[in-house]
């Protein structure tokens, strides 16, 4: 098999010198298996074509291609969320550019082992939630299962809908010094990372198309198609959408969940989107309750239902466990499947394989001793100093440094003694594991290849025809040379995994897309998503209004004596009323604007109407609807966030003017992208409704203040500037603006895209195509409100537009907004009850 790889046509004829230059700095660590080189520093055969290709491209071309892969990751917004002190920010998950190559015969072993292990863990789950024979016959200690916080007692005695607990399984594996693969961890709760593998693959295969083609890399799409089909098959009612139950936008893998949802055509749902009635699960949508029968669960069981599990959870679905117990919803993986995801259980896996399957483990796991059995604990104590001590379950232990796995050789004698005592006192909380070293693979760093240790996560899914393993994986590479498995817990980069496939033909033909796009079937818009899109629209438009006002002020402040200019004072009051400036003491006299006066609107995140806060709110809404906002539009928002976060220094009036102009330019980029790239289903309409309502209400306020007959001189010109309508005005009137002309243009003119009438027409159009939630006898509140405003605007003349009328319009617009909320959104506000005993 290796011969066939060597004989395949190479785009890059072997060039010994170039190859030597590329590998000049590459020195495998002593005593460690290296994926690229054998102990004698010869290249392993399945890597040769890739290394020759890299050598042929040369350093500069390689750097350029890797940079293009990075750009792809950045542009698509692949981010791994890390929490910071302020409650969350995002940083990109770096792509390690060299793929991990796995030879076909090696892969066959991994595949078979993953299937065996998935099958085995599935059977253990069925037993501990069912007959518990493994407990009674001593195969698994009762207290090992009872101690796992993910053993969900509410699910004992329940056979899950679809008949099986485990449908998605992942194993973290690594290769030891002897060349054998080892299982380091099992993932049965809600394995993450599969979505990233697709994005990594797209990025790298586009950067290295000819190499990817020649190497005959196994494709990933088939796996995902089977997975999606399997999820759909669990539906009892045909054509229902499958949901992906997410912990929400603040989870560290929120991006991946949104990505998977879009890729697999799943409905991205949070707990609040779902409700249970008579043991059936429904999605709250803008068209009322829609049933859902299958959920891909990315939310830990403990948080999935506050009534059955952790009562403090605000992100779950009250009653979900009841629906699962009644067999009305198939949850993948079943609630409680995390009960076999523990280090403690690993020590029992060899025995369980023999007991349940009648065979040995195809891939050993790290030698593990659970200290909850007194005899085992006593036996491992003498060798403790050469071992790793780790928590038996998922939660960290305060006695351990960093609360997680700790090599005893790394800690002081005092800590070691403390740990000994802790293990003697409560051994059941700990496992002792063999300290193992992981193999290394090449990473590109500073223009050369270097060996770095890695952990590979492989994924398996249960299909009608048995378990299928994704031919690839999620490979985390360390940024340091320390090859001990225990050091790989934190950080690193992610590498694509190329499983070499000798059977697959197609080398030399045109590369089909590495993953086939999968279509979404029907439009189901959850109420929460609609609400977030609506508010995204409102915040975006509010930020635009703020930027326009600030810019108008900045341009006026360049003139002298602005502090005494009554028009400047009027504009400042408009900003203050919008919450963009701190409230002024009326006794304090006019604003002092030259100097610090205007800066808070640009700088102060505590001001609810200031640019930083509005943009942050817009981002928060967008991040909760990531599956609906196009990657380009999302990127425009991120650029906007970055721009607002870094205003120019020093912040002179001119700098403020230019800053606002840049902000407005990015706004129109977002507006354009959402206009052109979002499909015209209901989601887009809610976004548009938000924009239109906000713009209309703002125009009413501006016209009332600046169109007031008592307003200072120059107010009407400023009003035209704010309404971006100077050019329209001049094309109609050659004169100095008169109030009625301006009101005609900004309030009543149905062809001016900034006028109130124009917004009212759009609002009515959008509202009329939204689902009608009324019972048919009377129009819904939303329809009534939208139609009334539009009708009222048609029957008045410009001279009738006075302040009273403008106030009425503003009030009617807010009523429309409330009506939309009542008719289509969820009413937020979850409270937990509970009372004390004494």
């Amino acid at each position: 098999m290796q011969d066939s790889l060597l004989q395949q046509p190479s785009l890059f004829p072997p060039d010994e010198d170039a190859r030597d230059r590329l590998l000049a700095a590459y020195r495998p660590l002593s005593g460690i298996h290296d994926e690229l080189m054998a102990a004698d520093q010869t290249l392993r055969p399945h890597w040769t074509p890739l290394i020759d290709a890299f050598a042929g491209l040369g350093r500069d071309d390689l750097e350029r291609r890797f940079a293009s892969a990075d750009r792809h990751m950045r542009d698509t917004g692949v981010v791994h969320r890390v929490y910071d002190a302020h409650g969350g920010s995002e940083r990109p998950l770096p792509l390690a550019h060299v793929p991990l190559l796995i030879a076909p015969e090696d892969w066959a072993g991994i595949e078979a082992a993953a299937i065996q292990r998935a099958e085995l863990l599935g059977r253990v789950l069925a037993d501990i939630y069912g007959p518990q024979e493994l407990i009674r016959d001593g195969s698994i200690p009762a207290s090992l299962i009872a101690g796992n916080p993910e053993f969900q007692r509410a699910m004992v005695g329940v056979t899950p809908a679809g008949g099986t607990h485990l449908r998605v399984y992942a194993a973290d594996i690594g290769r030891g010094p002897d060349g054998r693969w080892w299982v380091l961890r099992d993932r049965t709760q809600a394995p993450s990372g599969a979505g990233y593998t697709v994005e990594n693959r797209i990025a790298l295969s586009r950067a290295l198309p000819e190499i990817y083609r020649v190497l005959k890399v196994s494709r990933l799409a088939g796996f995902f198609e089977q997975f999606r089909d399997e999820l759909n098959r669990l539906n009892r009612t045909p054509n229902l959408r499958v949901g992906l139950l997410s912990p929400g936008a603040f989870n560290e893998s929120a991006f991946e969940q949104a990505y998977l949802a879009r890729y697999l055509g799943l409905l991205l749902l949070e707990g609040d989107d779902l409700t249970v009635r008579d043991g059936q699960v429904f999605v709250r949508t803008i068209e009322g309750l829609q049933p859902v029968e299958v959920l891909l669960r990315r939310l830990d069981s403990d948080y999935a239902d506050p009534l059955a599990f952790n009562a403090a959870s605000r992100i779950g679905v009250p009653g979900l466990a009841r629906a699962a117990r009644d067999g009305n919803v198939a949850i993948v993986n079943a609630l409680g499947s995390g009960a076999v995801e523990s280090a403690g259980l690993m020590g029992f896996m060899p025995g369980l394989a023999r007991r349940l399957l009648g065979e040995d483990l195809r891939m050993p796991n790290v030698a593990t001793w659970w200290c909850g059995q007194p005899d085992v604990r006593d036996a491992v104590m003498p060798e403790l100093d050469s071992r790793v001590v780790a928590p038996a379950y998922g939660y960290g232990l305060p006695v351990l440094p960093d609360r997680g796995a700790t090599a005893m050789s790394d800690v002081t004698p005092e800590v070691r003694e403390t740990l000994r005592q802790a293990i003697r006192a409560r051994g059941c909380d700990y496992v002792v594991q063999e300290a193992i070293h992981l193999s290394t693979m090449p990473v590109w760093d500073d223009g050369a290849l270097h060996p770095r240790p890695f952990v590979l996560r492989v994924f398996a899914t249960r299909t009608e025809d048995g378990w299928r393993v994704m031919p690839g994986g999620f490979c985390r590479v360390s940024q340091r040379a320390d090859s001990r498995a225990v050091s790989l817990q934190h950080g690193g980069a992610v590498s694509d995994v190329w499983v070499m496939n000798v059977q697959q033909s197609g080398a030399g033909t045109l590369l089909p897309p590495p993953v086939a796009p999968i279509r979404v079937r029907t439009d189901v818009l959850p109420s929460r998503t609609a609400e977030n899109l609506y508010w995204l629209g409102r915040y975006i438009e509010r930020a635009e209004s703020c930027a326009r006002l600030v810019r108008a002020l900045a341009s006026r402040l360049v003139e002298l004596n602005a502090d005494e200019d009554p028009l400047v004072q009027t504009l400042l009051h408009l900003l203050e009323n919008a919450g963009a400036l701190p409230p002024q003491d009326p006794e304090a006299g006019p604003y002092c604007v030259l100097g610090a006066g205007l800066r808070p609107a640009i700088l102060d995140p505590r001001l609810p109407g200031g640019l930083p806060a509005i943009v942050a709110s817009a981002l928060a809404c967008a991040s909760k609807t990531r599956d609906r906002v196009s990657p380009d539009a999302w990127r425009a928002l991120r650029d906007l966030e970055a721009l607002v976060a870094a205003p120019p220094q020093p912040l002179t009036e001119e700098a403020i003017f230019l800053h606002c102009t840049s902000v407005l330019r990015l706004m129109s980029a977002f507006a354009g992208l959402s206009q052109h790239n979002m499909n015209r289903r209901s989601g887009w309409r809610f976004l548009q409704l938000g924009v239109r309502l906000e713009r209309a209400a703002t125009m009413a306020v501006w016209c009332r203040r600046l169109g007031d007959p008592a307003a200072p001189p120059g107010s009407l010109e400023t009003l035209l500037e704010l309404g971006d309508s100077q050019i329209s005005f001049r094309s109609l009137y050659a004169d100095v603006p008169a109030r009625a002309q301006v009101m005609d243009l900004l309030i009543l003119d149905t062809v001016n895209p900034r006028s109130l009438a124009f917004q009212a027409q759009r609002i009515e159009e959008h509202v009329l195509v939204l689902p009608d939630i009324s019972d048919g006898s009377t129009p819904s509140k939303t329809r009534r409100a939208a139609i009334s405003i539009n009708a009222a605007l048609k029957v008045i003349g410009p001279r009738e537009v006075d302040n009273g009328l403008l106030e009425d319009f503003a009030a009617a617009l807010y009523e429309t907004s409330d009506a939309i909320g009542e008719d289509y959104f969820i009413h937020q506000g979850l409270l937990q009850n509970g009372f004390s005993v004494s």
Binding site: G147, R153, A311, A425, D429, N833, F835
Partner: protein
């Protein structure tokens, strides 16, 4: 002893709640030493959905969904209960506490009564080195388990102050231990924490306590309260035995079990999720009337 017990729980909401969903553990159920002759739970407003069943630990659980807008929720439980505590072992003849730890570690049983469930930190009871050290003083090497537990129960009563102002339902165990004061829930959690730190299986019991009025006074109606204590697995033979550190007594005829779990979170009388704005208040009125 025969008792008539009523417990009326009233929630008042700051503004009308359009929809609410609750899981209630308010109805007692027969178990060893306790026979429920009759029991009922009346709910107002009437729920649209109601399901009565048992939770994992065998407690009665009532799941309700109310869709009528409501300003208050009234849960009224009435029961007639007979308490006949099983005979106690002779303290000094119970096994050494170390043997109980070893036996609990290797049980081959995951049924609700198994000590395996009660060995670990739980939602409201973490591991605490300070509490472990305090409890350890009662556990001299080789001491019979029930003798050691009785000693701990008495020490806790002496060292801790009963003070309803000192804690609330959410006070962490460490904080209550630090101030050596609290209510029965805190006493129970502290004792459970210390026992589990040693490796002993300890459960949380919620229920009712018969209160005996001062001599010459009549029992005041509604003045009784819900109570909590600790149940400890004392080996396969002795089984589970109740200790009440708040009152320095064993849980016997005066202690009426409502629910058992790993800590308060498992037996919370009402867990609820409501949609709505504003605060709420809770009032609980309990009457424990001996039937003579």
């Amino acid at each position: 002893m025969l008792y008539d017990v009523t417990q009326i729980t009233t929630y008042r909401y700051g503004s009308a709640v359009p929809i609410s969903r609750h899981a209630c553990r308010l109805i007692p159920i027969s178990r060893p030493g306790l026979r429920v002759i009759a029991a009922s739970l009346d709910i107002a407003p009437a729920p649209r959905e109601r399901r009565d069943g048992l939770d994992f630990f065998g407690n009665q659980i009532t799941e309700i969904l109310i869709e009528t807008p409501h300003d208050d929720l009234i849960l009224g439980m009435r029961a007639r209960i007979e308490v006949t505590p099983p005979p106690l072992p002779t303290f000094e003849e119970t096994p050494p506490w170390e043997d109980v730890i070893a036996a609990a570690a290797v049980v081959r049983d995951l049924s609700p009564d198994s000590p395996a469930h009660f060995l670990y930190p739980s939602a409201r009871v973490p591991v605490s080195a300070a509490i472990a050290a305090y409890c350890r003083a009662s556990f001299k090497p080789g001491r019979p388990i029930v003798a050691a537990l009785a000693d701990l129960t008495i020490r806790m009563h002496a060292d801790f102050r009963y003070d309803p102002e000192a804690t609330d339902v959410a006070t962490p165990v460490d904080a209550a231990f630090g101030q050596r004061a609290g209510v029965c829930q805190d006493f129970a959690h502290i004792m459970i924490c210390g026992l589990r730190s040693l490796g002993l299986p300890a459960a949380y019991v919620s229920g009712f306590l018969r209160t005996i009025p001062p001599p010459g006074r009549r029992r005041l109606e509604g003045a009784d309260a819900t109570h909590a204590w600790v149940s400890v697995w004392c080996g396969a033979e002795a089984g589970w035995i109740g200790f009440d550190p708040t009152n320095a007594v064993l849980a016997r005829e005066d202690h009426i079990v409502l629910a058992v779990g790993r800590d308060y979170a498992d037996v919370a009388p009402v867990i609820g999720v409501i949609r709505g704005i504003g605060d709420h208040t809770v009032a609980v009125q309990v009457d424990v009337v001996p039937v003579v």
